[in-house]
Symmetry: C2
Subunit: 363 residues, 2 copies
């Protein structure tokens, strides 16, 4: 089957670019002698997780318990859940998957540690826990230093929990375009994490795992040392925002835009305008409108939930009814979450389908 035969709108992955992205991240981690645990929130697909494992990943991260459940059901055996798991209902679900796979939970609260330990005891399940440290994002996490030490001690006191180490993630800097600015911020974040690890070690606590980082800071974090594993997600797919990020060699980020959208022309109401079948339900808008590829002079704007519009301000629209138009998303994660499957291709040929089995698993 050819791409031109696909119904639109459709979510496409250039398998060749995708494979090169896989190998690039594997090389970054291997050259630094550290592990990498890609974030499955980007793809939500056990099939892709298995491909990442085959390319050297030590396991995957999940943002949500529901994603982790889908990954375990899909055969993934080593999962770090990067967000706190709160409340009895979710803790019961955590015990279930922790009894069937190597699951590591993240905590930032002593009451949550105590409740988690109680559930682990009742379920007879022992699993790893890492303390999330707020390294500058001001989101979840305990403050670096003494508060993190206190929480680590609370975990060490629980016989059904294994203290594995620390997580630190500074999401706000991943897309800082300037390499020097991003490096300075990443070094500050990493310093808070490694400083906290040193404090724990000085207090007799082993810290085997320091996990964190994203696609944007991966090359910086790998070179700096300190982290034992990287958590990149977007490197597989890229998006128009990530593709503005400068790399350590002065060029832009070397990961390729493997994820694109294919939309179709459904109306030609005026010489300089085309209406597409891609609106707010078919591509995310939180990063801005998607970017049309190979269409110089065309501007895209959303025209409702099911429609998009291409306008040529300096000339006529060259498209006919039924023509296909390719776009780069501005935000890969939220766009993937709108679809039930990826269609992979090589050249003009469709090569396969990857189910996005954890799509919508927000709980």
């Amino acid at each position: 089957m050819k791409i031109s035969e696909l119904d639109t709108p459709v979510l496409l992955v250039d398998e060749d670019a995708f494979n090169r992205n896989l190998k690039r991240m594997q090389t970054i981690a291997a050259d630094a002698g550290i592990a990498y645990r890609p974030h499955a929130k980007a793809h939500k697909s056990p099939e892709i997780a298995k491909i990442q494992l085959a390319h050297g990943a030590c396991g995957v991260c999940c943002a949500k318990l529901g994603e982790a459940e889908v990954m375990v059901a899909g055969g993934i055996e080593d999962i770090l859940i990067t967000t706190p798991v709160i409340g009895p209902s979710k803790l019961i679900r955590l015990m279930d998957i922790a009894s069937r796979a190597k699951v590591t939970a993240v905590v930032d609260n002593a009451a949550n540690v105590a409740e988690m330990a109680k559930f682990a005891h009742i379920a007879g399940v022992r699993f790893g826990v890492v303390v999330e440290v707020d390294v500058g994002q001001n989101r979840c996490g305990v403050q670096p230093g003494e508060l993190a030490l206190a929480l680590a001690r609370a975990i060490k006191d629980e016989p059904w929990l294994e203290f594995h180490g620390l997580q630190g993630y500074q999401g706000a800097i991943q897309m800082t375009a300037s390499f020097e600015d991003r490096k300075a911020a990443a070094d500050r974040a990493l310093g808070l994490l490694t400083g906290t690890a040193e404090l724990l070690r000085a207090n007799g606590i082993e810290v085997p795992v320091l996990t964190g980082g994203g696609s944007g800071t991966s090359v910086i974090d790998a070179a700096a040392g300190g982290l034992t594993e990287l958590q990149p997600g977007g490197y597989l797919f890229m998006d128009s925002r990530y593709r503005q990020v400068e790399w350590d060699d002065g060029n832009i980020i070397p990961f390729e835009q493997s994820l694109t959208l294919l939309a179709g022309v459904i109306s030609r109401p005026a010489p300089n305008r085309a209406i597409l079948d891609m609106g707010l339900k078919a591509v995310s808008s939180d990063g801005g409108p998607p970017v049309p590829l190979d269409l110089p002079g065309a501007d895209f704007r959303f025209a409702g939930e099911e429609h998009g519009e291409l306008v040529w301000s300096g000339g006529d629209c060259p498209l006919a009814l039924g023509d296909q138009v390719r776009f780069a998303p501005t935000h890969c994660d939220t766009t993937v979450n709108l679809y039930d499957r990826f269609i992979s291709y090589s050249g003009d040929d469709v090569t396969g389908v990857w189910e996005i089995a954890a799509r919508g698993r927000v709980q």
Copy 2:
């Protein structure tokens, strides 16, 4: 089961408010002596479509062929597809559902009419077609007047297509807050549609169907006369943008906010801040951030794909870990499209589940 026992984030429907909204729209249409054909793009659920039919709806609208396929599979027998169906692959699918239900297609292009007629002939399926007229939205649709007449004649010339009438929808004015401004714009749009219908009739073409309008202009369109059926979608659920619309009695729109989101507190990193489990993947952002209910002084901001943040600038956060927080979405359609099911409730009790079976059916 109680709402307090639900995992978060979750999409809730207040069944009592929902039922009152159903009855209000039924009354608006009945008082005007016209039909109403609610837009299923808002709920994407055959179960809800059946409830609408039981409350007097003559059928449903679908924005996408894929939605219509799910509706037909779910037992809905009368469907208007409000967007052009373009290209061989989609036309084959259109023939399939048109052979199994009363399906009406919308067209705005003569070449599409000719191709559709060819497929209808080959498939041996005869079905209704309406011409979309651009009544001011500048999206799909032929211009009012002679161009619409020419397209109606092209349909009349095709033995396998039945010309049913005209569609006109002015989506851009549905949320105009001022009743007078909205009424003036709605009257202009309706005038373009009814004027075109008169032209067709003067040329010997019967125009049994004039379909259009939305929730915001429903009371205006019903009172003005001219339309034979209304196409409201958002009236069932409402959102914070719709709830700013003024009605004909000087009060705000009488449809109630039946659709809400329930999020959970997963971290309390500072006295005046709470981190929630609801981010960009759990509520749409295209209309702005969702609005916290019953939490005076709290501002919500997105904190990534899986996180949201509530900040109290004038005091401390009253929430504890695990607490639930209710939100009104700013855009109901795009929020519904993120979820696989609605949970309905009455008071504190969960009353049922409606599957969003057409979620993600963008093709």
